[in-house]
């Protein structure tokens, strides 16, 4: 055996070092459960991994946004149903007030009751959710209407707009709400004006005006129901978008797992192979002759 510059020993130690490095990396992958811990682990996988992570974060936020909108839409839907109930009660009051047999005193009393319902309608128009007036449009921090119990309800925001949109995972946008004016004070049928007209007619004992206000109230009720239907459509859109977002997140996480997560079975197999190779290398080295001719010379 040639000796002198220990080239064989260097090669053996370098080989052992390589196996040790592989074992260390495999152990790290098994422990962390992640194959790509640094760029050099799989450079080609970096871009898809980070893109998937970013997309998961984006869609998760989209889902959070949609859930928030859904909560508001559900609250709005409930408010509109309550408003519908109130209007039906107002129509009953109006029908009773329009009756020719009803006394002035009774009409006055019905007028007082209509005033309470009017207040209730204003409160419904000013419904809040998560600190915002859900029918406030672009001014969610301002109550849409005020009512002092005597004068007709007044709009706190002149010509309110409603331009704030929400997006689904595909970046499609909708405006997920209607303003109180669109719902309760539409030019096509104002619930608040009709209610106030009814209250005034009852208090002033004007059966003919009660009849007119009653007709206006019925028209306004139709308008309000149309708004409620819009909210139903919004809820459906949001629910579908949220479900879609959820499915996308699951799909993206699955893709991410395939790219990034350790295949434990394969890693364990690799670890066993490397450990076997390590032991075999040491044993093979141990069996190499370590004696030279000097060992046999007396």
């Amino acid at each position: 055996m040639l000796k002198g510059i220990y080239a064989n020993d260097n090669a053996f130690l370098a080989g052992l070092n390589q196996i040790e490095n592989r074992i260390t990396v495999t152990n790290q992958r098994i422990t962390s459960g992640i194959d790509v811990n640094q760029p050099s682990d799989n450079p080609d996988a970096i871009e898809p991994i980070l893109a998937l992570q970013a997309e998961i974060a984006r869609i998760t936020q989209v889902q959070t946004n949609l859930n928030q909108v859904k909560t508001s839409a559900t609250t709005a839907d409930g408010a509109l149903q309550s408003a519908n109930t109130v209007i039906n009660q107002l129509i009953s009051i109006g029908a009773e007030g329009a009756n020719s047999t009803t006394t002035q005193l009774a009409r006055s009393s019905l007028g007082e009751e209509a005033g309470q319902f009017e207040q209730e309608l204003v409160s419904l128009a000013n419904t809040t959710s998560q600190g915002n007036y859900i029918f406030g449009g672009d001014n969610p921090q301002t109550a849409p209407y005020s009512f002092d119990g005597t004068n007709p309800p007044t709009a706190n925001v002149a010509n309110p707009t409603n331009t704030s949109s929400v997006r689904d995972a595909e970046e499609n946008a909708i405006v997920p709400s209607l303003t109180a004016q669109q719902l309760f004070d539409s030019p096509n049928g104002s619930v608040l004006q009709a209610t106030d007209a009814l209250r005034q007619a009852l208090l002033n004992n004007q059966p003919a005006n009660v009849e007119t206000a009653l007709e206006s109230l019925r028209t306004a009720a139709t308008q309000l129901n149309s708004g409620a239907e819009s909210y139903g459509a919004i809820e459906t859109w949001v629910t579908n978008a949220s479900t879609d977002a959820s499915q996308r997140i699951t799909n993206l996480q699955s893709q991410l797992s395939g790219l990034r997560d350790t295949d434990i079975t394969a890693a364990a197999s690799q670890l066993t192979l490397d450990e076997t190779a390590y032991q075999a290398a040491i044993q093979a080295q141990a069996t190499l002759p370590t004696k030279n001719l000097f060992s046999y010379l007396g």
Binding site: M1, L2, K3, G4, I5, Y6, A7, N8, N10, A11, A14, Q18, I34, V36, N37, Q38, P39, S40, D41, N42, P43, D44, I46, E47, I49, L50, A51, L52, Q53, A54, E55, A57, R58, T60, Q61, V62, T64, N65, Q68, V69, Q130, G131, N132, G137, D138, N139, P140, Q141, T161, T163, S164, S165, V166, R167, E171, A173, N292, L293, F294, L297
Partner: protein, 464 residues
């Protein structure tokens, strides 16, 4: 030939054999000495002409070295390439640690957090909590860019220090080689120990920088850098220096300088450094790092990313809010290090609306994180641009590590070949010792026989 002549012949043989055994013994003793190669004794026949009373015998010839210059050159070449790959792999490994690729930390996570904050703000444009979340997320982005830029600067400083250390070691080794040349010229030519030291120094030097070695007839060596620049010529040493270089009228005045290698007279020999640890470090310092942190002529990817993000966000925020959200100071190469949230910006000042919609600005900001968004300056989305940078560094590190492994194997092979050709074989040494021992015994026996013959001759003379 008379008995006394024979006695002289035998005594001379004993001396020659003793010298040969000395050579073998020296081989055995130096079997593990770095750079030492087997020395072989040479036995030459002495002139022999019995008619002229020239008695012949053996004489000790020059000791022959088994050093093979081709094998040595191959080892140095492979060692230089290993040095290149090793320093590149080590430096790139340090740099890649500054790139988070989990998506849950570092710049990618901060970017996702910012775009999510914009998206949440777009849903509740007048919500002060959402506005504050935007400010907080923006601060987090700035902080991550600052941290990454700082870490990269630290890697750059370490690389510069390593270049200086490597050049110091190169100068130290060339000084040793120059000293060996001086000793050789002073008459130590053929000294196996000096030869071992010289070749060991050359091998070490080759790992630091690729060299060409030219052996001179007087036994000295000339060492050239890149085949042209003399590091050692006879008894003269040329020292290398590390000189930071900034071109005249640089595009980026505050960019870190590039590193050049110069001789004492100022000659730039950087282009001569193509192999060895120094070459790997210079490539890392002058090519890889500038692609990330910039230099006199380029902004660097990290600064480009920081500046492009700040510009895109500010282009949307400023028209609505009156002041930009992000600020940077200094030149283009300082964007990542100086990125900050405008000190005058408060959450209340953030205006989500634009001309078209009450959440138009916030919605447009959220779109900066959309998967199909491409920044006009970068040609990529922000996360994609970062990914490309990280992927490029990772690819370079992976390639350098693979090269390192390959070069270790190639160096081992070259060393093996050299060992086969020049290494001390203890078995051969033992065999030679037995051979010389036998010869010594035979010569000694000859002396005994001649002694006996002389004794007998003296006794016979007494009896006459």
């Amino acid at each position: 030939m008379g008995l006394f002549a024979s006695l002289n012949l035998a005594a001379n043989s004993l001396e020659v054999i003793q010298q040969s055994i000395g050579v073998i013994q020296n081989n055995v003793t130096n079997a593990s000495t770095p750079g030492y190669v087997q020395q072989n004794p040479t036995l030459l026949a002495a002139a022999f002409n019995p008619n002229a009373d020239v008695v012949g015998g053996v004489r000790f010839g020059p000791v022959q070295s088994t050093r093979n210059q081709f094998a040595e050159s191959a080892v140095r070449n492979q060692n230089a390439l290993l040095g290149t790959a090793t320093s590149a792999a080590s430096s790139l490994n340090s740099l890649q640690q500054d790139f988070s690729v989990s998506g849950t930390s570092g710049i990618p996570a901060a970017l996702s957090g910012l775009f999510s904050a914009f998206s949440a703000w777009a849903t509740t444009p007048s919500d002060s909590t959402a506005q504050q979340a935007v400010i907080t997320a923006a601060q987090q982005v700035a902080q991550e860019f600052n941290n990454t830029a700082g870490a990269i600067s630290q890697v750059a400083a370490t690389a510069t220090q390593q270049v200086q250390n490597t050049v110091s070691q190169i100068n130290s080794l060339t000084a040793q080689i120059q000293q060996v040349n001086v000793q050789i010229r002073n008459g130590d030519k053929g000294d196996a120990g000096l030869d071992a030291q010289l070749n060991n120094d050359l091998e070490s030097l080759a790992n630091f920088v690729g060299i060409d070695v030219h052996y001179q007839s007087d036994g000295t060596v000339n060492v050239l850098l890149g085949g042209q620049t003399p590091l050692v010529i006879g008894t003269t040493q040329n020292q290398l220096n590390v000189t930071p270089f900034v071109p005249a009228n640089p595009t980026n005045a505050d960019a870190p300088p590039t590193l050049t290698i110069t001789l004492d007279d100022g000659t730039d020999v950087t282009n001569m450094v193509t192999q060895g640890q120094l070459a790997g470090l210079l490539t890392f310092s002058n090519t890889t790092l500038p692609s990330v942190q910039g230099d006199s002529s380029q902004a660097g990817g990290m600064n480009q990313l920081a500046q492009a993000l700040a510009t895109a966000v500010n282009n949307l925020v400023t028209p609505a809010s009156g002041i930009p959200l992000f600020t940077t100071t200094g030149g283009a190469t300082n964007a990542a290090a100086s990125l900050a949230v405008n000190a005058n910006m408060t959450s209340a000042q953030l205006v989500a609306s634009s001309a078209g919609a009450s959440n138009g600005t916030a919605d447009a900001l959220a779109q900066l994180g959309a998967p199909n968004y491409t920044d006009a300056t970068l040609g990529f989305g922000y996360t994609d641009f970062y990914s490309n940078m990280a992927s490029s560094i990772g690819q370079q590190e992976s390639t350098a590590t693979a090269n390192q492994t390959t070069q270790q194997g190639l160096l081992s092979q070259a060393q093996n070949v050299r060992s086969q050709l020049s290494g001390v074989s203890l078995d051969q040494a033992a065999s030679q010792l037995i051979q010389f021992q036998s010869a010594y015994s035979a010569s000694a026996q000859t002396v005994v026989v001649i002694n006996n013959m002389l004794t007998a001759l003296v006794q016979m003379t007494q009896n006459i």
